[in-house]
């Protein structure tokens, strides 16, 4: 392998990692439309996948389309993220919620982890969509890491 080829591969690797880390992940989660006469309440689980990296901090932004109102933010499934994340009240006024938290727990999760649950109210007859984006994520030593985010409708929701 020539040095030029090795350098190109290395650059590509850097670019790829940069892509993942820089763009992070974007999730569009279209929930099925429902024609209901009354508003409904439901929950959406927020999952982050940090791969093999330990996850100690994150900031994500979630946008909801018309018809959805967030009425609570719950903590996650692991002890490290059991406390509900903080939110930016100013962002909440513009139809989005920015969640952020960090943990100093000795044991932090790796891989795919439910870090929060959103409690939402959906207007009657609406079929809101939700979009989540990772702003930043980091390890316990403060190193930024690429993560992906998913929003999942909780099982057990009233259909």
């Amino acid at each position: 392998m020539t040095r030029r080829r090795a350098a190109a591969l290395a650059r590509r690797g850097v670019v790829r990692r940069g892509l993942v880390a820089g763009l992070l992940a974007l999730t569009l989660c279209a929930l099925p439309a429902r024609a209901e006469s009354a508003a409904r309440f439901r929950t959406l689980a927020v999952w982050l996948d940090a791969g093999s990296e330990p996850l100690a901090a994150y900031q994500i932004e979630i946008r909801a389309s018309d018809g959805a109102t967030i009425v609570g933010v719950e903590g996650g499934a692991t002890a490290a993220f059991a406390a509900p994340p903080h939110y930016d009240p100013a962002a909440l006024q513009s139809g989005r919620i920015i969640l952020a938290t960090f943990t100093t727990a000795a044991h932090v999760p790796r891989g795919r982890t439910r870090v929060a649950t959103l409690h939402v109210r959906e207007a009657a007859g609406s079929a809101p969509t939700y979009r989540a984006e990772v702003v930043a994520a980091a390890t316990p030593d403060g190193r930024r890491i690429p993560v992906t985010v998913e929003l999942l409708a909780q099982q057990g929701d009233p259909a």
Partner: protein
């Protein structure tokens, strides 16, 4: 090219994730780990979703035989109950084990909850336009103590109910303890074994003070002692300058953060969630120091915790820092025709006051099972020299010379008076007089302005001293006696150049004479005789007292000083504050809060708007201290007409916008936004006794740390400023501005509210009955002249 590749890859990632996400609900198993299931121990709080709130405890009790008889309970009429059965809710119900319907073991009787229980109907919908007159009819209360060590294991989907302890039983009938409980969920009437169940069990207060800013977490523990679902309503006080910025509802092991919303929207969402059977909580502000907590759909035996967190700056008076935590709202008087006041009603008499907000009070001799624990951690930065509570018994530990941990003594845990803690630091310096914080919104600061020391040497001008005494029913007894003693002490220190007047008000106002009298010995005796003749009775038409004190020609040779002595138990605070603003003119208004749970919002703002100062005289402390401090203020000229030169600091949005005068011994905190990092000298200029004076304060914003309290404190002080303007300005834009600031900074206000809904679980049955949490009248306040008569 690379950019296209990046974009393409991003689209691919998004598309894959999107496709994956869209399929998740149906094909969750395709992406490990799977989404949450009903058995996920984190999602659920130990309650089986399918059978939660479905057990008919009263029906089930009958099958065991040792349970108390069941009959409806009207909280107005205490239950003829024996010791209520005990619920083991909160322990895991997912373990496997024995499944018999009931058994006795280790002094406990157990029962597994069956399914199919339908909740009875409720009586009132929250936020539906005013108080209801419905009286809740509830079934038998159930308490909540369990000896977990003796619990049998259960199968999935079953729940364990411990219905009675054998050692509470006598001849097969459960016996209540002989003495009234504190810390349980009941009150007992004097001379009776009747117990009145209450949904608020305990309040826990954890405060930490760094410098002169306190961060306080208040946790209210609600528990449903009834056999039916309830909504709990609790009207409670907080400090008037509290910047309430966090709200978390805990259901089982799950913590749900509430979000700030416009008040009307939050109320509508809460009502909707409540109607549909979701556990929900709503925090609204009735006055800057009075809040209502509503918790909907509390299932029988279940516990819901609500924690709110606030910041507030401590007062610093005469070298003493003062931390105050109010514990009970005093019974307010509302003028005839008022509908948006704070009503005081006997326990259970819903809607009888006709006011938008009602506080329910326990009758004399009734005791609340609600207790309070309080801890204050002080990190002063300088050695702490003196520390005391004039109101409560405290335990103190000293981890270091600069730190103290103060806890409320267990024997003093009845929440019927303000908790006051005072301490002094070594030396005269204020630690961290300038505090700064930076974040992506910019810089925020607080600055404590100390009056110049030389003010204490300057003589005062002659005074026209007007004493205004509240002689309404709520001042009956000790409060009026203290007010009289305080006024008497102050009168005796007048000099020959002064004049004085005594005004008393209750349902109307009266005064010593048509005009102020010179402070001659004869006139002072006349004044003291008049003072001693005052009796308390009737309502609190404070506006009459204000008119009488301020509406007469000003004596240009004398400084008019109005001393307002009251507990502040009125429900029309904004109207009173508006009148003070309109009428105060050149006078200085000094308010004296008399009693154990005074309306500190009213008294503080009266002093601010009246360009004076406030002092509080508790029931257990003499008036000497307050009078001495009052004379310290009025015996020396204040530094007035303040102007601040911020030096190299680019400062905006300073609050209070109208800077108060600086009195001897009374530093003032101002707050603002700033840009710039260069150290500078801030110069405060003003006039005292006609002489120009200047204070120089070195500030170094380079030391800006992460002090998340400061943006909240700034926003709260801005809201207070806007509220003051709104008392005399009908411009509705002020309301909108208050709301906008509150929403942007996530704070409670009159126009915002915190809401949390647990959408993961629908409780069974109707939304249940609304139960207001009754509270004791404050220490020293008579029920018969306040609650019963109003």
């Amino acid at each position: 090219m690379k950019k296209f590749a990046v974009f393409g890859l991003a689209l691919l990632v998004a598309a894959v994730v999107f496709a994956s996400c869209s399929m998740k609900k149906e094909q969750s198993a395709s992406v490990p780990p799977p989404p949450l299931s009903k058995d996920d121990p984190i999602v659920h709080d130990g309650r089986p979703e399918t059978d939660a709130a479905t057990a008919p405890p009263h029906a089930a009790f009958g099958s065991v035989g040792s349970a108390p008889k069941q009959q409806p309970l009207d909280p107005n009429v205490a239950a003829q109950s024996a010791r209520p059965p005990v619920n083991a809710a909160g322990t895991s119900n997912r373990e496997t084990g024995e499944t018999e319907a009931g058994r006795q073991d280790a002094g406990l009787a157990y029962l597994h909850r069956p399914k199919g229980f339908a909740e009875p109907g409720g009586s009132r919908r929250f936020g539906d336009g005013g108080p209801s007159v419905a009286s809740p009819q509830l079934a038998q209360p159930r308490a909540a103590v369990a000896d977990a060590r003796a619990l049998p294991a259960l199968r999935a989907g079953e729940e364990l109910w411990v219905i009675a302890r054998a050692d509470w039983q006598e001849n097969g009938v459960a016996q209540p303890p002989a003495e009234p409980e504190v810390g349980g969920l009941k009150v007992k009437r004097p001379g009776s074994d009747d117990e009145i169940p209450l949904p608020l069990k305990h309040t826990d207060v954890q405060a930490s003070v760094a410098g002169y800013i306190a961060s306080v977490a208040v946790t209210q523990q609600y528990e449903n002692p009834y056999a039916e679902k309830i909504e709990a309503l609790y009207v409670f006080p907080l400090p008037q300058d509290a910047a309430v910025s966090e709200f978390v509802m805990t259901v089982g092991e799950r913590h749900i953060r509430g979000l700030i919303r416009e008040r009307q929207q939050a109320e509508e969402l809460y009502a909707e969630a409540r109607q549909q059977g979701y556990v929900a909580s709503l925090l609204t502000q009735e006055r800057p120091n009075i809040f209502t907590q509503a918790v909907a759909n509390i299932e029988p035996g279940k516990r819901i915790d609500v924690q709110l967190t606030y910041f507030n700056p401590l007062a610093l008076h005469d070298g003493e820092y003062e931390f105050v935590f109010p514990m009970v709202v005093g019974p307010r008087f509302n003028p005839p025709g008022s509908r948006d006041g704070i009503g005081a009603v006997p326990r259970g008499q819903y809607g009888s006051s006709g006011q938008a907000t009602e506080v329910h009070y326990l009758a004399p001799g009734e005791r609340s099972g609600h207790d309070i624990a309080l801890t204050v951690d002080i990190d002063a930065g300088l050695p702490i020299e003196q520390l005391e509570s004039p109101t409560h018994v405290i335990d103190t530990t000293a981890p270091s010379p600069t730190r103290r941990r103060v806890t409320l003594h267990a024997a003093d845990s009845v929440p019927n008076k303000d908790f006051v803690l005072r301490y002094r630091l070594a030396g005269d310096d204020v630690r961290g007089a300038f505090l700064a914080h930076r974040d992506n919104r910019g810089g925020f600061f607080t600055l404590m302005l100390q009056p110049p020391a030389e003010l204490a040497a300057a003589p005062r001008a002659p005074m026209e001293l007007i004493f205004v005494l509240d002689c309404s029913g709520s001042m009956s007894g000790a409060p009026l006696d203290i007010a009289k003693r305080t006024a008497e002490r102050a009168l005796r220190r007048l000099t020959a150049d002064d004049t004085f007047q005594i005004v008393q008000f209750s349902s109307s106002a009266a005064q010593l004479g048509p005009r102020p009298l010179p402070a001659t010995p004869q006139n002072l005796e006349r004044g003291l005789t008049y003072l001693n003749s005052l009796q308390s009775e009737g309502g609190t038409m404070m506006i009459e007292g204000i008119k009488a004190a301020l509406d007469f020609p000003h004596d240009s040779k004398r400084l008019r000083v109005v001393s307002f002595m009251t507990d502040g138990f009125i429900g029309n605070d904004p109207e009173i504050l508006g009148e003070v603003q309109r009428r105060v003119g050149e006078a200085r208004l000094f308010s004296f809060g008399i009693g154990s749970s005074t309306n500190r919002y009213l008294l503080d703002r009266m002093a601010v708007l009246g360009r004076g100062a406030v002092a509080y005289v508790g029931l257990d402390e003499g008036s000497q201290r307050a009078v001495d401090q009052f004379y310290d203020r009025v015996s020396h000229p204040a530094l007035a007409d303040l102007q601040i030169d911020w030096g190299n600091l680019d400062v905006t949005d300073v609050y209070p916008q109208r800077l108060p005068d600086l009195f001897v011994g009374r530093p003032v905190v101002v707050t603002g936004r700033y840009r710039g990092d260069a150290p500078t000298t801030v110069r405060v200029r003003g006039k005292a006794g006609g002489v120009a004076r200047e204070i120089a304060i070195a500030v170094d914003p380079r030391g800006a740390a992460t002090r998340p309290a400061l943006p909240s404190v700034w926003a709260r002080m801005k809201i207070a400023d806007l509220e003051d303007r709104a008392t005399t300005d009908d411009n509705r834009a002020l309301d909108g501005e208050i709301k906008q600031v509150a929403l942007e900074y996530g704070l409670m206000s009159a126009y915002t509210a915190f809401l949390a809904v647990d959408a993961s679980h629908v409780t069974a049955g109707d939304h249940g009955t609304t139960v207001a949490v009754p509270v004791p009248v404050p220490d020293g306040v008579r029920y018969d002249t306040t609650v019963a008569e109003r």
